[in-house]
Symmetry: C2
Subunit: 471 residues, 2 copies
Amino acid sequence: MSDNKRDQDILIDFTNSLEESIGPQHGISPADFASIEQATMETHGRLQKLKESGEIGFFDLHKSDTKPFKKFASRTREKFENFVVLGIGGSALGTNAIHSALNSSFHNSLTKRKRNGYPKLLVVDNIDPDWLEELLQTVDLKKTIFNVISKSGTTAETMSQFMIVVERLKKKLKGKWKNKIVLTTDGGKGVLRELADEFNLLAFDIPNNVGGRFSVFTSVGLLPLACAGVDIDSLLKGAERMAQRCAASSIMENPAYLFGALHYLADRRKGKNISVMMPYSSKLYSVADWYRQLWAESLGKRYSLDGKECFTGQTPVKALGATDQHSQVQLYVEGPHDKITTFIEVENFSRTVTIPKLFEEKEALKYLGGKSLNQLISTEMKGTEYALTSHNRPNLTIRLPKINAHAIGQLIFMLETATAFAGGLYGINPFDQPGVEFGKQFTYAKMGREGFEKMRSELEEKTANAKRRTI
Amino acid sequence: MSDNKRDQDILIDFTNSLEESIGPQHGISPADFASIEQATMETHGRLQKLKESGEIGFFDLHKSDTKPFKKFASRTREKFENFVVLGIGGSALGTNAIHSALNSSFHNSLTKRKRNGYPKLLVVDNIDPDWLEELLQTVDLKKTIFNVISKSGTTAETMSQFMIVVERLKKKLKGKWKNKIVLTTDGGKGVLRELADEFNLLAFDIPNNVGGRFSVFTSVGLLPLACAGVDIDSLLKGAERMAQRCAASSIMENPAYLFGALHYLADRRKGKNISVMMPYSSKLYSVADWYRQLWAESLGKRYSLDGKECFTGQTPVKALGATDQHSQVQLYVEGPHDKITTFIEVENFSRTVTIPKLFEEKEALKYLGGKSLNQLISTEMKGTEYALTSHNRPNLTIRLPKINAHAIGQLIFMLETATAFAGGLYGINPFDQPGVEFGKQFTYAKMGREGFEKMRSELEEKTANAKRRTI
């Protein structure tokens, strides 16, 4: 491999999560690492099998054919002013994360020319009636394409949005509403697939061996991202590069395994039930939001693979540097010893913004003049890192050479693999989400879906006599 | 008091945090409440004293004179296209929270007419060079007023932004740059006060008995909010109404004390070191962000009032309903028993959005047709509440009759008082933030501020030989 390629690699600095930096009570020791050698080997083997058998598909998504997405993007580019995603959870978070990282944070406020002709991107991931109505009022339906994303076609939130949007389109455009809808769903089954066939709607497939929170490198993310002007090929090249690095079976050679192991050990051996992700970059804040779903939904489990109650799962927390130094860092430095913190550092921002020499007679401002915001944010990160470390709080840093599609591709793939690996250490299934089933059924029952009548009456009985305590 | 007034009261339903709902292992019992009776009385007395002596000022901010802010707002209304806050932490979060709650979520995308003539509002609370440059490029400096907010005038992030903006204004407008700047700072001292005097800049005072995170009802929040068209009088009336309710000394009569007590007991007696705030409303998500600072920075403390190490502080987490049902709820329902969750419910949204009857032959969609998003989001909240409760996870609901300034005023004041009260129960000082001092000094030293030369060389010595572990 060329040095140039290595130059583009993201890197994990884990010095400050180790015993040698923060002492034996809170730092990970060689013995801790040794204690999971067996589990690491087993997990590695299991993941290899899941990959090779094709049971779990996210490992190979860097091989996705991007042509259909780019072709669609080039068709929509000049034609539409707005690209609106109707989707929630895994159908929304990855797109948001990568779009925020790689496009202007004020993309939707730019002129079409400054957007290089690409449409505005809106991700509609809630059903708050006020918010949704406010949103719809900002877009001209005639100039908008709606991408409806649901693998099963039963997601109540997305389906409701879809029905509302179709009705409005019909009112405005009559039969032409169909040109404003593109579906992303299961290739063979489900309501959206049926509707695609019946109404001859354009539809993209979601591979059925990829779950929602691991799906950003499928049509789920690649279609909207291509349409918003993201270089999806570089994204996948980054993922591919990380996949090479993640082929290693040893924790000390595999960045994903290292990330997973540090978090597992911090949780299980050192009592850190909270995983903070704190990018020192406004543009990467949504990556932390995407990570929240990945980590929480994959690892938050009641039962282990052998059927025993285990109640696993760190709570992921997103924080933003430098902003949250004025909000969260007091707690992180002085509060309970219950966290492991991951900084995301950007080595080279796209721009250098210089602080001018002004008001030089003021001692409290003088030192800033002539420096850059780049220096300031970098220094502040080092300051927080130093403060945490000297208070024996484990922390690590993921360093990106710069924010580009290649680096983001690496980062996403690394965190996905880390999550799958951590699932193995915890001994749970990181690919299911049994705990949200009940909420869905509750909604079906209460909203009157056929087949849920019995549950409905049971629920009504239970809640009828509940005495509420209010003030 | 009239019934009408009570109708506008926000309400706490704490049924599901009690032993009678979720059992003795995780629920709060009468004995738990009894165990803090003495501490409640003492804390109540102490808070009364802090209020009456004027040492702590946030209790009485509903008496603030709003005229100067409204006058300024009416002057800027037609004149400016953008109102930009330069501020961080307490100078940003309250304004963001209330603006997001009460104005359109797409305020900045609306035409001036649809904004009722009020300017766009941008809150600049980070120093990421890429993000800041992108932001500045979206505003026409000639049509923009910058509100620089820092009590001390030494906040490195805000001062850097200020210097950058002043230089650009000077380049564009020469001597007229002064008309585009309004300062919000200490009434008597600090660099910004000096600059206000020297350059004859317009400046508003921050009362010196109010700390940053309790300051949204001072000029810090009221000025930008008035300028963005928020009814700041109703906001303060809401705060006043809640202040009346919070005069009670008993937990069962004082909503703030109840909130504080439930969280303290959940943490200290039941091991819930995480406080989730989950509004079922996109427009209230930023309130949870404001709460994050309030709760974390106030209660995250290493030392108690008697000087002993205590390491207190729940970690506040923001979550969004219904969105995060597809991200966090799996963990909240099945993961470790380490959380207490506060839902924020909106009884009446401003609008009813009906889901049309469409595709009625599809069983998976039929049940949605004819219902409303309002029903759907309300049902989903009840579903999550039910799921948490049946898994013995403590939760409570703050219910707002509707989202308006009066209700938000109540909510903010309630949470502030709850935080001050919880500080009493923990036995710490909720009004300081000693743990962030070090980070500031680190930045001064590394950036070369005068007087920090010794610290600088010490730090360089320490870090020079540090061996880094990277992969």
